[in-house]
Symmetry: C2
């Protein structure tokens, strides 16, 4: 927990959570620059001063949302790949979980991308940490012969880029995303490449 | 040419160009919100008022930079793939050209990504138009049997996402990018996938 005062009571925790959800909605819709703390407290139906009990600035609540997205994506992907019997199955399940997350929390998804310009340090830490974990998975899979050889770092970032852009195009930009279709076709590309 | 008055003289065109290059440097370094028109004219070593002869606002010069990046990337990739004898070779040459472009013009590269938040319409038009052209290439290659079957739209966006993230990680974030290495390994993934 960050913020000037981490909430000690249930009521405090609920208020902080309400402010985070309001910030997610407001910043996700309007972007960081156009969102004011007053917009956030109005959305949370609380007094302006309440915000400062839990966060010192708009920057801080923004950073907290990026960190939250990191925890949620990681937990979601980890859970999704739990049952996979090899790396290729895990890639498919992970991609599906990631795209489903974009569908469920489009604002949070957008906020992480905007972090690149608002808080480059937290943005880079987000992807570096995700990338490092991904590299370890690919190295293990390569050692077990579940995937072919190749620089795991280049692969990890290429695969992250694929998932991010697919989420933007086929989830965020679509009224009725067809996640299954995207997963099937993107996974075929991931597994077999473009080769005839 | 846009702007309140499109330059009619050589000197006018040179001044407009100087303002564009200054805007590219300033916005690329500081981000859109933190960049002022005064920062841009200072960098261009011109009077503040001169800006308004060529552009009506910071938003307009920004949009012009995104459109320029679209023209340059397209021209660069088209030229690079000219000599390719099939689609896979073209993919490799196109990826190399794109990463080289990120190395040569990092500010312009960053500006296109920031457009998502500053001017979503021009950002989307940028990728839609690039994506449409990509789809046509993949359809042709599929018809000729140069690549295997698969939804060309999903593939186009997956491949764009790959290139963009690789450019960010291995070009923008590196002091001495090793583009050849990234191209070799990313191309192997593109062609053959992860399969053992």
């Amino acid at each position: 927990m960050s913020g000037p005062t981490a909430p000690k009571t249930k009521r405090g925790a609920a208020r902080r959570e309400a402010l985070l959800r309001a910030a997610e909605a407001v910043i996700g819709e309007q972007g960081f620059a156009a969102s004011s703390i007053a917009d956030i407290t109005r959305r949370a139906e609380t007094a302006l001063g309440t915000f400062y009990i839990y966060f010192s600035s708009k920057e801080e609540v923004f950073r907290e949302l990026v960190l939250e997205m990191g925890r949620l994506t990681r937990a979601g992907v980890t859970e999704a790949v739990q049952g996979a019997s090899n790396r290729l199955e895990a890639e498919k399940a992970g991609l599906r979980a990631f795209l489903q997350f974009a569908a469920d929390r489009p604002a949070l998804y957008r906020i992480v991308e905007e972090a690149r310009f608002i808080d480059p340090e937290v943005y880079r830490a987000y992807y570096d940490s995700f990338g490092r974990a991904y590299v370890v998975q690919l190295q293990r899979a390569q050692a077990k012969g579940e995937i072919g050889p190749g620089d795991p770092e280049v692969r990890a970032w290429a695969l992250m880029g694929m998932a991010i852009k697919l989420g933007e195009r086929f989830v965020l930009w679509e009224d009725k995303p067809d996640i299954d279709h995207v997963v099937e076709d993107a996974f075929a590309l991931m597994r077999d490449g473009l080769s005839p």
